[in-house]
Symmetry: C2
Subunit: 206 residues, 2 copies
DNA sequence: AAACGGTTTAACCATATGGTAAAATTTTAA
DNA sequence: TTAAAATTTTACCATATGGTTAAACCGTTT
């Protein structure tokens, strides 16, 4: 029973995750979630009182999973270059497995910006900044990285890793014309992005 | 009459554009489009037989507008660095005015990848490659840009310019914690991205 | 002015959707 | 074993939605 309960709740959650990621909040249908979970609609509402609640549960978990990917960047004992590679590697691996996930998150966050604040609530920014500056103070100085350029660099790194998956259908369609293969492109992406990013940063040294 | 017709059709089109961009295909309601256009639902179906048809009309126009932004990169008589700056400038200006547009396109294309092929149908890729290689053959050689690295570079440039707007709510929420202002960040984005990109490319020179 | 063609409206319709009530079934505790 | 508690199902409801029909309106032509 507790076992079965977990099975049922788990099944519902997995089905809901799939459907929400695939169709978004608006496009998802409670009936479809129920069907995929192998139960009926009323049971869905028994476990999660409303579509909104179910969505919130799914979204929160997924967003946190995604956020976790960024954590090692702060506590690993690596050089800046190694850290950049590590981030690209982690992020790319993750998105190869769940390619629709980033667009889903961007989309739902954009439709309800409040959501992101809930997920970030427990993020300690003062601590993160301190860690980064302690670990890489010398490199920051050498490459003139400060509180103005750091956001530019970090969003650029995020962009370079996430965007290809978000724009996959467009990129694939263009590549098709030019005879390029998307999977090969992705395979080389980590190496390219690491070199590209680190070279760009290094060249800030006067 | 023909005048009024155009006015009405125009009003419908503008209202539909706003609603679709704001809510997406699934979230948009025909009633809301009618309300915003100041007409009723039946008139909507008189001009555009179905929601699908209306959406297609809106999407096609918008996607083509977006695509046009890329054109000057190929026929302007500029150096590679100038071209990069020019692209970032154009794209950023455009998205400052229509910040929801890129996410809308990415989203709908992802839900129906066929759409992108329709828009790209008349794109002459052989010609584009030729132009680029003629105009920048020397720079391509110097910086070791070939048919394998060119896609990496171009998607990186697109990513760096588009991603900040697509992820705006997330970036804003994080910036808020760190005391950074999104608009100031965007103001500096063109300069930063141009330097970042061109430095990364230049450093490919051995 | 009457007929005509395009335009607009009000009133509908069928269906899909999120959600609920209450009965039936199963599980747990006594 | 039996009563209670939890779980699952059947049958429903109210509302929203995309779409249609038929009549009214209005400017143009004859």
């Amino acid at each position: 029973m507790t076992e079965l309960e977990k099975q049922t709740e788990e099944k519902i959650f997995e089905a809901a995750t799939d459907v929400f990621i695939e169709k978004g909040m608006d496009g998802a249908r409670m009936q479809e979630i129920a069907d995929r979970a192998g139960i009926n609609k009323a049971l869905l509402h028994y476990y999660y009182r409303s579509k909104e609640k179910l969505f919130d549960a799914v979204f929160t978990i997924i967003a946190k999973q995604m956020l976790k990917r960024f954590a090692p960047v702060f506590d690993e004992n690596l050089t800046l270059e190694e850290k950049i590679r590590f981030y690209y590697q982690q992020q790319t691996d993750f998105m190869k497995r769940s390619p629709r996930l980033p667009l889903f998150i961007l989309n739902e966050v954009s439709r309800n910006p409040q959501r992101v604040k809930n997920v970030l609530k427990h993020l300690d920014h003062t601590n993160l900044l301190k860690i980064l500056e302690e670990q890489h103070g010398d490199e920051f100085a050498r490459y003139k990285i400060n509180r103005e350029t750091l956001p530019q660099i970090m969003t650029s790194i995020a962009a370079m890793s996430i965007f290809p998956f978000v724009a996959k259908p467009i990129i694939e369609a263009i590549f098709e014309k030019f005879g390029t293969n998307f999977n090969e492109y992705i395979e080389r992406r980590v190496d390219f992005a690491t070199a590209f990013t680190y070279n760009a940063i290094k060249s800030r040294e006067k």
